[in-house]
């Protein structure tokens, strides 16, 4: 869980950096896309390395979900009879919503791929014209809203995930790690949300 989570987190960071290229204009954004597709093309052909990365990513997602399902099953088996009255004392909202949050994120990722990778759900939908696709998307309020919900779910997921992963990997100073995790989650959210809101409010056209 922790290891696959860390790998996915690295992807999330890299993806965010890519997103921010929107602010540098269409050339930068679309160029970034071309570069991504062409890394290592001398060796593996166009999109070769990208596919390796994609497969790696899918493997990590599968591992992460498998581990999550196993944990959830163990939890259910460990408490066959549930409490009639139950009141969480401390468990942060983030910690309690890891499982549902994960499901929301997965559903969003499917939509997101159909929207911006495959393009079939995108209002512009031209392969390679990333900048246009993105700006076309976020002029629509419902797309922005869906994106925002997903990013916030991701933020919560990361907030508990980072701290939990570090704890699982043996870092044992809860307070410091928890604060750092919160800071990082906020950073990710801001980074991701800056794009749709910039488009929505017309700062990026």
């Amino acid at each position: 869980m922790a290891v696959s989570g860390v790998a996915l987190l690295l992807f999330v960071v890299a993806h965010m950096v890519g997103n921010l290229k929107v602010f540098l204009g269409p050339e930068s954004m679309d160029g970034y896309g071309r570069w991504l597709r062409s890394i290592g093309s001398a060796l593996l052909g166009n999109e070769g390395v990208l596919w390796v990365l994609r497969i790696g990513l899918v493997v990590m997602i599968v591992l992460h979900m498998t581990a999550a399902i196993q944990l959830a099953r163990r939890a259910r088996a460990a408490r066959p009879e549930s409490y009639r009255a139950r009141r969480p004392v401390q468990g942060s909202y983030a910690a309690r919503t890891m499982r549902w949050g994960g499901v929301i994120i997965v559903l969003f990722v499917v939509y997101h791929l159909l929207d911006l990778t495959v393009g079939v759900l995108n209002p512009h939908g031209v392969h390679g014209e990333i900048y246009r696709n993105v700006t076309a998307d976020f002029q629509l309020w419902y797309v922005t809203l869906a994106y925002t919900v997903a990013v916030l779910a991701l933020g919560l997921h990361i907030r508990h995930g980072i701290w939990s992963a570090l704890q699982t990997l043996g870092v044992s100073s809860a307070r410091v790690v928890q604060t750092a995790a919160l800071g990082f989650a906020v950073f990710i959210c801001v980074g991701y949300l800056s794009v749709p809101f910039a488009v929505f409010f017309g700062l990026v056209r």
Binding site: A75, Y83, R84, R86, V89, G91, A95, T168, G170, A174
Partner: protein
């Protein structure tokens, strides 16, 4: 004070249910268990079965008592066992729901009494230092840095009540296990068995049917002795270290 106690009654495997009991004359100086005493006296004289609940020292140290009070392990007061919880923390006229610890490794024996021997099994798997009687060197042979001794103490304070398991949404006993790993693992005396201890105790924990830890922190919040969540980090570190090293 007037109270309604909504108590889990169970005498066979499948007949568990919540039953309401009215008490009209509760003093706010009573402990929660004393309220159950008073209720039981009334039930006995009325020809009913008294409510079975575990308790012994009634000063918050033996770890025998434990119940979910309004959905919180040991009730609303922090760092307080059920026996030390006093009624002044409840409102007059309140309805209080009381349930047993619920976890697969803690089967209900009767009413609020559960079988927590799974916790003993975890300790038996390795929660000790092998120091046969008579084999000890002088107590001052090895100095222990005070911060280490204090860290060990913080975790050693665990009373084995099982509240961590009861409160954990995953039904995990990781805080209990980690408390012993930390207590013994930070002391120089505990080093020789450090690797085998963590591997064996965690395996026993998993085999007994406790859930996995997802670091939600519910456990430490209800722990009557405030065993810190950091101890789980230490356990994980030891587990990782021990797993990566060839077992001797």
């Amino acid at each position: 004070m007037r109270l309604t106690l909504r108590i889990w009654r169970q005498s066979t495997k499948d007949d568990g249910r919540l039953v309401d009991y009215r008490l009209d004359d509760v003093s706010e100086d009573m402990s929660f268990l004393e309220v159950l005493d008073v209720l039981n006296e009334e039930l006995i004289l009325a020809g009913d079965e008294p409510v079975a609940f575990d308790h012994d020292c009634r000063e918050g140290i033996c770890g025998m008592c434990g119940m979910m009070i309004n959905g919180v392990a040991h009730g609303p007061e922090r760092a307080t066992t059920a026996c030390q919880l006093h009624m002044r923390h409840f409102a007059d006229g309140a309805t209080i729901t009381v349930e047993p610890w619920r976890a697969k490794p803690f089967p209900v024996v009767r009413d609020l009494v559960v079988d927590r021997s799974a916790l003993d099994r975890i300790i038996e798997a390795g929660g000790y230092i092998s120091a046969p009687t008579g084999s000890a060197p002088d107590a001052h042979a090895v100095a222990v840095p005070k911060p280490d001794a204090d860290t060990a103490f913080e975790s050693a304070a665990c009373i084995g009540c099982g509240a961590c398991v009861a409160a954990c949404p995953n039904g995990s006993g990781m805080l209990f296990t980690a408390a012993k790993i930390t207590h013994l693992g930070v002391l120089p005396q505990g080093q020789p068995e450090r690797d085998s201890r963590v591997l064996d105790m965690v395996r026993a924990h998993d085999d007994l049917g406790f859930g996995g830890c997802t670091n939600t922190g519910e456990c430490t919040a209800v722990c009557p002795k405030g065993v810190p969540l950091d101890s789980i980090g230490r356990l994980n570190r030891d587990l990782l270290r021990a797993s990566l090293r060839p077992r001797r």
